[in-house]
């Protein structure tokens, strides 16, 4: 797998508390998708695994599907069910 730059991952709310961080930089692999980057995050922070079925994702501030490709320099946000208002 060729390394092709990095992706910034943002964690919020319960995810940030459980991981103890709000922001990661991960090396980006060829063919990376939202789901694959998410799997890398969960491998690093197994305590996030139970939240995965509830997550949505935002790539560069737009909601994105798991199979969306992740380009170098992108920002991927893991979005728990929102509860603003």
């Amino acid at each position: 797998m060729e390394v092709m730059g990095t992706v910034t991952v943002l964690l919020f709310a319960s995810l940030a508390e459980r991981a103890g961080t709000r922001r990661l930089e991960l090396p980006l692999e060829d063919g990376a998708t939202v789901g694959r980057v998410r799997d890398r995050v969960v491998a690093q922070f197994p305590q996030l695994a139970p939240a995965v079925p509830t997550l949505m994702y935002a790539l560069d501030e737009e909601y994105a599907r798991e199979d969306a490709p992740v380009r170098p320099g992108s920002t991927l946000a893991l979005i728990p069910p929102v509860s603003g208002g």
């Binding site: 919020f12 935002a58 737009e62 603003g84």
Partner: protein, 150 residues
């Protein structure tokens, strides 16, 4: 179009003034306020987290959609983050338009959309614990509309 995610207090007057227009006969302002109970449990205070840049982007999209859908003159959405005590205002939504009925319909629509899709989260803090709320109103608990996927 006033759109803001902020740690500073937010007010009805600021939002109402922001949407004022000579053609507007009706302004509807909604305030989401921290209650002292939720689901029967006493709340001490709330803590709001947000993804501010994306939250503002979503709020702007909601405001634009509301303007088109309801023929609004203008729309303002303000969301506060950080620690909020009982009685403090977490959300202000203001809409202006010609007549009152649309102002109520549009205002409620905007508030519902904010609660569904703006990346903001609240933690409830009780006397004996705390928990991040993962709301049943969130799109994460629903079918995401096609327009929000790519």
């Amino acid at each position: 179009m006033l759109i803001r995610v902020t740690e500073a207090p937010i007010s009805a007057d600021e939002a109402a003034q922001a949407v004022a227009s000579p053609a507007a006969g009706a302004i509807n302002v909604f305030l989401g306020v921290v209650r002292n109970t939720n689901l029967g449990r006493a709340v001490s205070h709330l803590v709001y987290d947000a993804y501010p840049s994306m939250a503002e982007k979503e709020m702007r999209a909601i405001a634009e959609e509301a303007k088109a859908r309801f023929g609004l003159e203008d729309c303002a959405i303000l969301h506060r983050t950080g620690r909020l005590e009982i009685g403090e205002t977490s959300l202000v939504v203001a809409v202006s338009c010609g007549h009152r009925r649309e102002s109520y319909e549009a205002g409620l629509w905007v508030v519902n959309e904010v609660k569904k899709r703006v990346p903001v989260w609240k933690k409830e803090v009780w006397e004996d614990g705390e928990e991040w709320i993962e709301g049943p109103e969130s799109l994460g608990m629903q079918q995401a509309p096609a327009s929000m996927q790519r």
